[in-house]
Amino acid sequence: MAGDTGTLRRFFRRRRIILFCYVALLPVVALFFYVRIIPIGFSFLLSFYKWNLISPRRPFVGWDNYLGLLEDENFILALKNTSIYSFSTVALSTCIALPLAVFLSRKSRLSAFYQTIYFLPVITPMVPVSIAWKWIYDYNYGILNYGLSLVGLPSVAWLTEPSIALWALVIMGVWKVLGYNMVLFLVGIRNIPAEYLEAASIDGASDWQRFWRITLPLLRPILLYVIVTSTINAFNVFTQVYVMTLGSQSAPGQAVRMLVFDIYTNGFQFFRMGYASAEAVILTLIVLGLTVIQFTLARDKEAKPR
């Protein structure tokens, strides 16, 4: 009899706890479905329709939006620019951040100071920062052109010449993420057991050899993580493009056309919701592809211990 009431009590307690779980999660899950899951699914669906947001007619067009994208010069250009932007920003910021992190990994009283300074751009909001850079890049009054004039170089139309503006965005992009990459590398380097490096020194390895043979291989997982996440972030570049180059965006020779900017233009200036959704789906696929690459490479490494 006592056992029965015990079981019964446990049964009710279990039910009470499950009820608690659902009640507690309900608001979060409802919100999560409404602002994330449903829009993501809807975006795939919408990419097969043609719709201008207002018209009651919403014809199904199959793959037409995607086929249209293949022939859309703006889209191709956006894809190309965004890829150049992402890969250059990531390559440059990684190549600069890595040696900086190695310098900083030595015990130094100034280490915290440097970290603070280099990290500053990471936490500052994008719009004011873009405005500041736009002023620096200014053709007539910008300090960058002033600097160039000091060394006898001609002024550069940093933001109005599309082929140059892309690189102006890259420079600013590197500046913005450098500190973040550096701090991550720094943590990775500090986590490498000191004995490894000491043992190598005793065996007569030079600093250079120790970096290539010990630090870099052990840093691989973090390196991979940083490269992939910053590439994904770079693919979503929008704010600085909007703030810094929009002035010339409507001008004949378009300035820097990037993927998210193109989605924004098609969706919210031309109201081609289906078409813009197809572009958004491609952005999602690129991001997913990058993530899959990261997981595969990370797993590869684990599968083959040395």
Partner: protein
């Protein structure tokens, strides 16, 4: 040996020289923004440019606030960031705890969904979200602007991780034996033991909430709903020649983040490094 030591000394000196030069480049854009904000229009146009203003003036700040309702933008930004932070902390605490410590049907599926969709960028599904909000007539409303920022997948992971690894289940059992309900346990056992993790989540949410741009750009057409970021952009397009006011507005938008950063510098850098996420 002595020669080697001098060589190493020179190496370290060279490192510092490079790091210092780099640090200068890193602060330059923001420093230039600050000093420009305090220059008069005449001084801004001086060529060759001079770094420090000869006469510091706050006329640009007053000018900016007179030309556009920056006080309103500022309050909007603060409200958006604070509401988002409070909500993200609360939802992360609840969902993180439930996913960490409770067994219930559907747990794996739900958590898997959160995990799987975490990397899909907002920009990829903003169009359908916009259409949904048109449907419920939330365009041009505060609730519409804040809605997508009320929870954060990353916050849920972080809290789950924390509760899993550092809150013993026995503690919760002890509470239950004493007759405590699950909500009581959440509020009185788990929350007090999660200060650091909650603070980390809150800081991320605040930085993110302060800087949101593309969503308000889509959804807020009424100038009174603009946040700092959007207000600045609109101001820029309208008064692009008025560099002094533009820089003053930018300074106002940056300062809250700088204060937060300088106060919580160590914690922010450590958190971001250890969790590998950006604000």
């Amino acid at each position: 040996m002595a020669k080697q030591r001098t060589l190493a000394g020179i190496g370290i000196l060279a490192c510092h020289a490079i790091l210092m030069l780099g640090a200068l480049v890193m602060v330059m854009p923001m420093a230039w923004m600050f000093v420009t904000a305090f220059k008069s229009a005449a001084e801004i146009a001086i060529w060759p440019p001079v770094f420090f203003p000869r006469e510091w003036t706050v006329v640009n700040f007053f000018g900016a606030f007179e030309t556009a309702p920056f006080h309103r933008f500022f309050i909007n930004s603060a409200v958006i960031a604070l509401v988002s932070t409070a909500s993200v902390m609360l939802t992360s605490l609840i969902a993180g705890t439930v996913f960490a410590k409770y067994q219930f049907p559907g747990r794996g599926l739900l958590f898997g969904l959160v995990l799987a969709t975490a990397i899909v960028p907002f920009e990829a599904y903003m169009i359908p979200l916009y259409i949904q909000l048109v449907g419920i007539d939330w365009i041009n409303t505060y609730q519409g602007i804040i809605l997508p920022y009320l929870f954060m997948a990353f916050g849920i992971f972080l809290m789950r991780q924390h509760v899993c690894s550092s809150i013993p289940t026995e503690l919760m059992e002890a509470g239950r034996v004493d007759g405590a309900g699950e909500w009581w346990i959440l509020a009185r056992v788990i929350a007090p033991l999660s200060g650091n993790a909650l603070a980390a989540v809150g800081i991320f949410a605040f930085i993110q909430g302060w800087g949101i741009f593309i969503w308000p750009l889509l959804i807020a057409n009424d100038q009174l709903l603009f946040n700092m970021e959007l207000g600045l952009t609109a101001f820029q397009f309208a008064f692009s020649a008025d560099i002094g006011k533009l820089m003053a507005g930018s300074v106002v938008s940056v300062v809250p983040m700088l204060i937060v950063f300088l106060l919580l510098r160590r914690r922010i850098i450590e958190n971001m490094a250890l969790t590998g996420i950006k604000g």
